[in-house]
């Protein structure tokens, strides 16, 4: 722990984003200045996140006690390799989405602007607060602070989802808000029970004390936490809210939600299942949940006629892959799951941004009305094709590498359930390919259904370039897959060992 210099960086992703949000609210009247503030803020967050990844990989977990309170009384912030990697990926996609929305805002007509942006230009500050909430859940070492992080990101997601307050968005918003708040109440109750059982909300201390509890008590606590996070991660059977609410939001909002919000739930599941409840008492349950999530999600996707809704269902389905890795619970499984999360955040966000481009160009995302895009807009076709193939897991893309890692980890476990899951994963990949191919052949290849091409609008370069940049990031994950897998291997080994995390919070032993 020589890294005083590194430790200083730990709270910055949250502090910078919140400060940036404050400044962005103050300068609401001056749109250019506000845009500059948010871009600079998120770029700084990205730089800090990259530095944290280097630091955490070299020095082990970095920790800071907020306000100098000793770890037992105050809140501890801790960044290990997993948290640092999540910070880097989330900062990258948030920045990409922000640039995209700026391109959209600069090009939209006044009429659209009135529709897309509420009375105050609140989009940028809210986006920064969302980023702060997401970062807070990643860097915290305190379960109650994790709950607060969730509430920060939920509150800002409520605002973003209901931007403009049109009837469909309000309808979708009501069910989203009620389901999210219900999950929060479950999480808060779980924290209350954990506090009653262990007398602490510090996760490192809790990890030590939980080991001493009777098995029945541990199981109840574990299940309550799992249910709360599974709702946020859209795991079967608690996924119904997601395909219902996401597609109605504006394209950049859907993109950032699809990339980040469910993955925060997956991250919390990973963190709590490895740190607080090591062992395999829930392996079977998690495996069945993973299988059902994959299959039900992808069957829902195949049935859709609208690209946005189709993608929302594939999002649910691919959460199953990450859960599979967590359920296997070996170093190989968790490492592959972390890799898959990083890959999926990038690809899913990119796809939703590209769908936004298609909507802008063709005026709709309905497969029954789109057609001939491959000839009319070849750039769009390429931008859609690459991440779509990546999502389906075609070699040599990162989606294939992540899935191969998961299948290998499952095969190493060699139980019949693991083999069943492997079969389910392969089937899900094929059905993903089918769903993607359906979009491709109907929207891109078949001749346009309506000859009315005069309605087609040019897509502004300000929107295309950020989307293209994120496509490139997705491809870059394939290129750096070797080193990335090395980092996730080390992260998974640390998480299973638990000692590095606990030692970072309590260097002199747990009180």
């Amino acid at each position: 722990m020589t890294g005083i210099d590194w430790d200083i960086l730990v709270p910055l992703p949250v502090v910078l984003a919140l400060a940036g949000a404050g400044v962005a609210v103050v300068v609401t009247g001056r749109i250019r200045l506000q845009r500059a503030v948010s871009v600079v803020t998120l770029s700084l967050v990205l730089v800090v996140a990259l530095a944290l990844l280097v630091g955490a990989d070299r020095e082990g977990p970095l920790s800071v006690t907020v306000g100098g309170w000793p770890a037992r009384m105050g809140v501890v912030l801790i960044v290990d390799r997993l948290a640092a990697l999540m910070l880097v990926v989330s900062a990258t996609v948030t920045l990409g989405v922000l640039l995209y929305s700026i391109g959209q805002g600069a090009a939209s007509t006044d009429e659209e602007r009135a529709d897309e942006q509420a009375p105050l230009p609140i989009f940028h500050p809210t986006m920064l607060v969302l980023s702060a909430g997401v970062s807070n859940t990643f860097i915290t070492g305190d379960l109650f602070n994790l709950y607060v992080g969730f509430e920060i990101l939920l509150a800002s997601s409520f605002v973003l989802l209901t931007l403009g307050g049109s009837a469909p968005r309000i309808r979708a918003g009501i069910s989203y808000v009620v389901v999210s708040l219900l999950a929060s109440v479950i999480l808060l109750s779980a924290i209350a029970m954990l506090y009653a059982a262990t007398g602490t909300v510090n996760m490192a201390q809790m990890a030590e004390r939980l080991d001493a509890l009777p098995e029945g008590t541990r199981l109840v606590l574990q299940l309550m936490l799992l249910v709360a996070f599974a709702v946020k991660a859209a795991v079967f059977p608690m996924f119904g809210w997601l395909p219902d609410s996401y597609p109605t939001a504006p394209a950049p909002v859907t993109a950032v939600f699809a990339g980040l919000l469910t993955k925060v739930g997956v991250y919390s599941i990973m963190r709590t299942q490895t740190l607080l409840f090591p062992g395999d008492q829930l392996t079977e349950l998690l495996m069945w949940a993973a299988l059902a999530t994959m299959l039900v999600g992808i069957l829902g996707a195949v049935a859709q006629d609208d690209i946005k809704r189709m993608l929302s269902f594939t999002l649910v389905s691919h959460i199953g892959f990450m859960l599979f890795g967590v359920a296997v619970g070996t170093a190989a499984g968790i490492s592959a799951a972390i890799f898959y999360v990083a890959h999926h955040i990038t690809v899913q966000t990119t796809l939703f941004l590209v769908i936004g481009l298609i909507e802008r160009y063709g005026g709709t995302t309905s497969l029954t009305r789109l057609g001939g895009l491959a000839k009319l807009a070849p750039v769009l076709a390429v931008l859609f094709f690459l991440p779509a193939m990546n999502l389906a897991g075609i070699p040599p893309f990162s989606g294939f590498l992540g899935k191969a890692g998961l299948l290998q980890a499952g095969a190493e476990q060699a139980t019949w359930l693991a083999y069943l899951l492997i079969a389910g994963s392969v089937l899900t990949s094929l059905l993903t390919l089918y769903a993607i191919a359906r979009v491709w052949s109907r929207a891109f290849w078949q001749p346009p259904i309506e000859p009315a091409t005069e309605g087609l609008e040019r897509v502004p370069r300000g929107m295309t370039l950020p989307a293209a940049a994120l496509v490139a990031v997705g491809l870059a994950i394939t290129v750096v897959a070797g080193p990335l897998f090395a980092v996730t291997d080390r992260a998974a080994a640390d998480m299973l060992e638990r000692a590095p995390y606990i030692d970072a919070v309590f260097p002199g032993g747990v009180p």
Binding site: F144, T162, A167, G173, I174, S175, V178, I191, A192
Partner: protein
């Protein structure tokens, strides 16, 4: 630690009534359900604090007599969060009222599609069996808020 039975029962009642209200289709009732549930969770945190003691003023109360201050701090945070969320739901309920003059949560897209399919399935039977006309008549109404169009097989 000996938990307080009264508080535990109060938390249970709050959870039960909250869940009951949350199952309603009216936004206002769902909001009240959320409020009751949140308060149930807050009371649960107080149960977790253990037996009540003196106010936790450092230096004035002996440490052995203090009640545990940490859950109280957490409850305060949770109350503030619930306040903000309640305000947001109220704003949404108001906007929903402005838009559709109703307090009922509308059917979601997937529900509407199911109803359409079901109506399409029922329609040919109507011609063959005129006696089911009365039953199926309800399905001709546009599926909107509150109709709950359940189609009998």
């Amino acid at each position: 630690m000996i938990p307080n039975l009264t508080l535990a029962v109060v938390a249970g009642v709050l959870f039960a009534t909250g869940v009951y209200l949350l199952l309603a289709r009216s936004i206002t009732r769902a909001l009240l359900g959320i409020v009751l549930l949140s308060n149930g969770a807050n009371v649960l945190l107080l149960v977790a604090a253990g037996p009540a003691g003196e106010a936790a003023f450092y230096g004035r109360t002996p440490e052995s007599d203090m009640s545990d201050p940490l859950p109280q701090a957490m409850v305060l945070t949770a109350i503030v969060i619930t306040l903000g969320m309640t305000a947001f739901i109220l704003a949404m309920a108001h906007r929903s009222w402005q838009l559709s003059q109703t307090d009922i949560v509308a059917d979601d897209v997937e529900d509407l599609r199911l109803v359409e399919l079901a109506v399409r399935d029922v329609a040919p039977h109507d011609e063959e069996r005129p006696d089911v006309d009365d039953d199926a008549a309800g399905d001709d109404r546009p599926p909107g808020p509150g109709t709950d169009a359940v189609v009998e097989p």
